[in-house]
């Protein structure tokens, strides 16, 4: 059996990043993700890496931008209000086509909100947050093991497609503890001929920049970038299907909400209700194919979210509104209970 250790979700992200070759961490503490910074502060000096607590979130994301331009595997982490502060840097990183990993362990919002878990940064992560036409690969772990696996995957995809990967977790998964193993870690490395590493006067210098003086050049750059995004959409969507074979109702939920949903589904099955789950693992690219396929089979969908209903819009788009989609949600740091989800499933069964 693989050697396993008991880790907090936040620690698993930090350890996985180190194993993926990340030696540059820039951040600013904020609950509920501070263990990532604490772990990095303890470990990085021992392995020749850089841990730097910046003077602000804005400084830290620009340090990420700089290290990424130099071709380093680099990351930052924060929680909701801190990610808003980083939004400008996220746009510049996208506009410069450099790879980075950004972790958002979400808490309740808007504004300063609270420190309890939330999924209400779904729009910010999947639709923008920063300005301009850009996308980030958004990965939504539902266990501590996935916190580790998706961190490594996030670095790989960022390097492969020259863009930001975001781990969109929530406070609960950041704080909870589960046994994990790193033995199956698939670490990929990519050549970075575009990186600013010094020319030694032997080659033409590289430029990393997001400013284009001619509009047609900027348009061309955007077209090229969106061709890459199209490849990501085609190749990289990930999801889990649970009890979907004979399902008449399809619950859609990611992260911590999917764990609550699974318990509700098991309870509903005991009442004879045929219900299953599609759990998006990538939120962008959104797993449109399995949802479109499910829309041909099931009678209705339920989106379970820790927000006022954000992913539900993508569920409706992916299913082209062929079947009704209802919402089961809590927000502000609250989590739907298995009983609340079960009640929504019962109502869907009755066609309410």
């Amino acid at each position: 059996m693989a050697e396993r250790v008991l880790m907090k979700g936040n620690e698993a992200i930090a350890e996985a990043a180190i194993r993926a070759g990340c030696r540059h961490y820039f951040g600013y503490p904020i609950t509920p993700q501070t263990e990532i910074a604490a772990y990095m502060a303890k470990k990085m000096p021992k392995i020749g890496g850089v841990f730097l607590q910046a003077e602000s979130e804005i400084a830290s994301i620009n340090m990420v931008y700089g290290a990424a331009a130099a071709g380093m595997r680099v990351m930052t982490s924060s929680s909701s209000p801190g990610i808003s502060l980083k939004a400008e840097g996220l746009s510049y990183i996208a506009g410069s086509d450099v790879p980075a990993l950004v972790v958002n362990v979400q808490r309740g919002g808007p504004g300063l909100g609270g420190i309890q878990p939330s999924q209400s940064d779904y729009f910010q992560a999947t639709k923008g947050g920063g300005h301009g036409d850009y996308r980030m690969i958004v990965l939504a772990p539902a266990s501590v093991q996935e916190m580790a696996n998706l961190t490594i995957k996030g670095f790989n995809l960022a390097d492969k497609y020259l863009m930001t990967s975001m781990i969109l977790a929530d406070g609960t998964i950041g704080q909870m503890m589960e046994p994990i193993s790193f033995e199956d870690a698939q670490i990929e490395t990519y050549e970075k001929p575009w990186a600013l590493t010094g020319t030694d006067c032997k080659r033409k210098h590289n430029v990393v920049n997001s400013l284009y003086l001619q509009p047609d050049q900027l348009e061309k750059k955007n077209f090229e970038r969106f061709e890459r995004y199209r490849q990501v959409e085609e190749n990289e969507a990930m999801w889990e299907e649970y009890m979907m074979e004979d399902a008449e109702i399809c619950v859609v939920a990611f992260g911590i909400a999917s764990r609550v949903a699974k318990n509700a589904i098991v309870a509903a099955r005991k009442e004879g209700i045929k219900v299953g789950l599609i759990r998006p693992i990538t939120l962008w690219p959104f797993p449109k194919k399995p949802l479109a396929a499910a829309a041909e089979k099931v009678n209705s969908f339920i989106s379970v979210e820790l927000s006022m209903g954000q992913m539900i819009e993508d569920v409706r788009l992916a299913t082209q509104c062929k079947k009704p989609v209802s919402l089961c949600n809590r927000c502000g740091g609250m989590i739907p209970s298995p009983d609340e989800v079960l009640e929504t499933i019962r109502n869907a069964q009755k066609g309410v």
Binding site: V5, E15, I115, P179, I256, N263, I335
Partner: protein, 229 residues
Amino acid sequence: MEHHRLTLFAGHYGSGKTNIAVNYAISLARQEKKVCIGDLDIVNPYFRTADSAKRLHEASVELISPQFANTNVDLPALPAEAYRLVQDKTVYGIMDIGGDDRGAYALGRYVPFLKEENNYKMVFVANFCRPLTRTAEEAMEVMREIEAACGLKFTHIVNNTNLGPATDPDVVLDSGTQVQKLCDISGLPLFFTALREDLAPALEEKIPNVFPLQLQEKYFDLPEQQGGI
């Protein structure tokens, strides 16, 4: 088991202090003792002693918890009431200390009272499945950091080696070497070995002083962890 009036549980964060403190408090209360448990954790935002409030109440254990535990107030402040643990000598007091040296700073203010009364156990909770305390030497380093932060020496060790829901008897048995080594290099006795209660029957004959734990259920435990399907 010999009981001191005060029992303090400290250790690396995530070592299981809160679960052990809650179960120990309840076990004392079952022996007809008047018990009060204090949540002195100023580090952890989630998963606190207060999560077990119902169980503690049912067992007639009094809970002293920071006013803002489990709320949105991220304030490392302890209630004045916590002084009762060290001042009211009619109760058995259990103190649940925050993780690592950072958590142990909060204990410092109570240490003069503890030393004066001199009727306490200061227990180090060890889980050798945690990545930063895989060996006795690493655990010893954390012990020394905590002692320096709070100004109080440990007197006992509890072995709480576990992999959460994946813990099996071998995980506990395999930790025997490291825990013995930690006892040897620290010169401290093993108070007990804590295990999930369902593992106790298999291990009671192989390990001395087994202390079974009833773990706090969580709404996000997966169906397979609950044996639900």
